[in-house]
């Protein structure tokens, strides 16, 4: 297993960087819970970090976003997380203000929670699966999408076409995506690229096209493309929808299919209906890794608490509406899903969550729902007999 790569140059750059104001030492904060991995989780962590900082006693969510595969690596191999840049570590105070802290120890700290957009097996060879001492709790679901310039006339792409575009780059036989400089990708440790790679059958290390350093960088480059039709990239639906003035999500048609679909019911909607039903295929849950003690519970109780909030298995603290927050962030809580999967791009299996929130999710995501509002289950019809999150649900 490869560890988090920390180059000598990066460490030297950090050590030699000027510091005008010394940030607080992370270890001195109240009950620090160290979280690392995917950058997609940051908006959710900000809200949970704020609430946990206001608890009695307070706890501090200290976050270091480096990329999906670093999440499971930190938990599976215990690779310490170390400062590689000034301001790399973030926490949130009780009023929700984002603050930087530092870890001055050159040996770093061991993360309590590792977060990934993809299954650990998508990052590492794990023929025996995860060890019994590590658990992977499934959090909110996010979709990945092919995107193009907002002014592009293209509306859809098939898996077969994407295989050629990203597998062959400048030699792609699929018009109009034949210019390497306008075929934008991430890197081979990106969760987005790894999930897309599993979808289209091009190993992440063999992707052609122009590398970008982050989702934001990809948006910027795509937006600056001189030939909109020829531009293409990959983003999480979350980032793509936050940048709808710059990029356009392409409907996706999986191998052997004849129909292309959006993650949402149409290009401009925000209901994620095709992800929630499994019709749109490129999606996966956020993976929340932590170490267990011999009794099978998280070694770090606060880490378990944080994971419970994110996964929806623990009641959210007062004042924190995670379903609404997730809807606003274009991700889907497990309670709004009707399918689940147990391997990357594996079959979507029917799923009926306890305390379903699909109706409430639709309401807060789109402003409307066809579901019947309710206060108790007695108000619900037999077809949707359970009052959950204020609406009649099937379960």
């Amino acid at each position: 297993m490869s560890g988090v790569r920390v180059t000598v140059a990066a460490v030297l750059a950090y050590a030699l960087a000027p510091r005008s104001v010394a940030a607080v030492e992370c270890a001195t904060l109240p009950i620090p819970v160290y979280v690392t991995g995917s950058t997609a989780a940051k908006p959710l962590l900000a809200e949970i970090g704020k609430v946990m900082a206001a608890q009695t006693p307070p706890a501090t969510v200290v976050y270091y976003g480096v990329g999906s595969c670093a999440g499971p690596d930190a938990i599976l191999s215990g690779t310490p997380i170390v400062n590689t840049a000034v301001g790399a570590f973030t926490y949130w105070d009780a009023s929700g203000v984002e603050v930087k802290c530092e870890i001055s120890s050159t040996s770093g700290v061991i993360a309590h929670v590792g977060i990934s957009d993809v299954f650990a097996s998508t990052c590492f060879q794990l023929p025996g699966g995860l060890p019994a001492s590590v658990t992977d709790t499934l959090g909110p679901v996010q979709a990945m999408a092919f995107v193009t310039h907002k002014s592009s006339t293209e509306r859809a792409i098939s898996a077969e076409a994407a295989y050629y575009v990203y597998g062959f780059g400048a030699q792609s036989p699929v018009s109009p995506w034949t210019h390497d400089g306008l075929i934008f990708r991430r890197d081979d440790v990106s969760g987005t690229q790894r999930m897309m790679a599993a979808a289209i059958g091009v190993p992440p290390q063999r992707w052609q096209g122009t590398a970008t350093t982050s989702s934001g960088d990809l948006v910027t480059r795509l937006g600056a493309a001189n030939f909109p039709d020829q531009s293409i990239g990959i983003l999480s639906a979350e980032v793509a929808q936050d940048n709808r003035t710059t990029v356009r999500i392409l409907a996706y048609q999986h191998f052997g299919q004849t129909c292309a679909v959006y993650p949402d019911s149409d290009e401009t909607a925000n209901d994620k209906v095709n992800v929630r039903s499994g019709r749109y295929p490129i999606w996966g849950p956020l993976h929340l890794f932590t170490r267990l003690n011999p009794s099978g519970v998280p070694q770090n109780a606060k880490a378990g608490e944080l994971i419970g909030y994110l996964a929806g298995t623990r009641p959210a603290p007062a004042g924190l509406d995670l379903v609404k927050l997730e809807a606003q962030r274009h991700v889907i809580p497990q309670c709004a899903m009707r399918v689940r999967r147990t391997q990357e791009m594996g079959p979507a299996m029917p799923f009926a969550p306890q305390s379903a929130c699909g109706c409430y999710y639709e309401k807060v995501a789109t402003g409307t729902t066809a579901c019947k509002p309710c206060a108790t289950s007695a108000e619900c019809a037999a077809t949707a007999p359970v009052c959950s999150y204020g609406f009649c649900e099937t379960q």
Binding site: Y164, A260, V261, R279, R338, V339
Partner: protein, 113 residues
């Protein structure tokens, strides 16, 4: 072919579908899968064994949950055997994607330099 493993690898998978989607019935059912997708269908009727509100997505030929939960007055409840799931957009592989690989499919990926 690179994509073969993703798309059509035959795998014996033991899937345990607990409660819920089977109409809320108690207990669990065990399905022996011989394909990556056991939820194949041609009409909504093929999906009734999973849930009363399951529908056949005729584009993917797979049972999916109809959203929002099916009610008599809800739109898109089907009746035409399509589960109300229509296809309004497609990418024409026949016109745009060359299938000139050695087996009449996609070409193998170029060898890394």
């Amino acid at each position: 072919m690179q994509h073969t493993g993703v798309v059509s690898a035959l795998a014996i998978t033991l899937a345990i579908v607990v409660g819920g989607f089977s109409g809320g019935a108690a207990g669990c059912s065990v399905l022996l899968e011989t394909d990556t997708n056991p939820y194949k269908c041609t009409t909504d009727a093929d999906c009734l064994r999973y849930a009363s509100n399951a529908a056949c997505d005729t584009a993917r030929r797979q049972c999916v949950a109809r959203l929002p939960p099916s009610t008599p007055d809800a739109a898109g409840t089907g009746g035409d055997g399509t589960g109300g799931l229509s296809c309004s957009l497609s990418f024409d592989n026949r016109l745009r994607v060359p299938l000139d690989g050695p087996d009449g499919g996609l070409r193998p990926l170029p060898e890394p330099p």
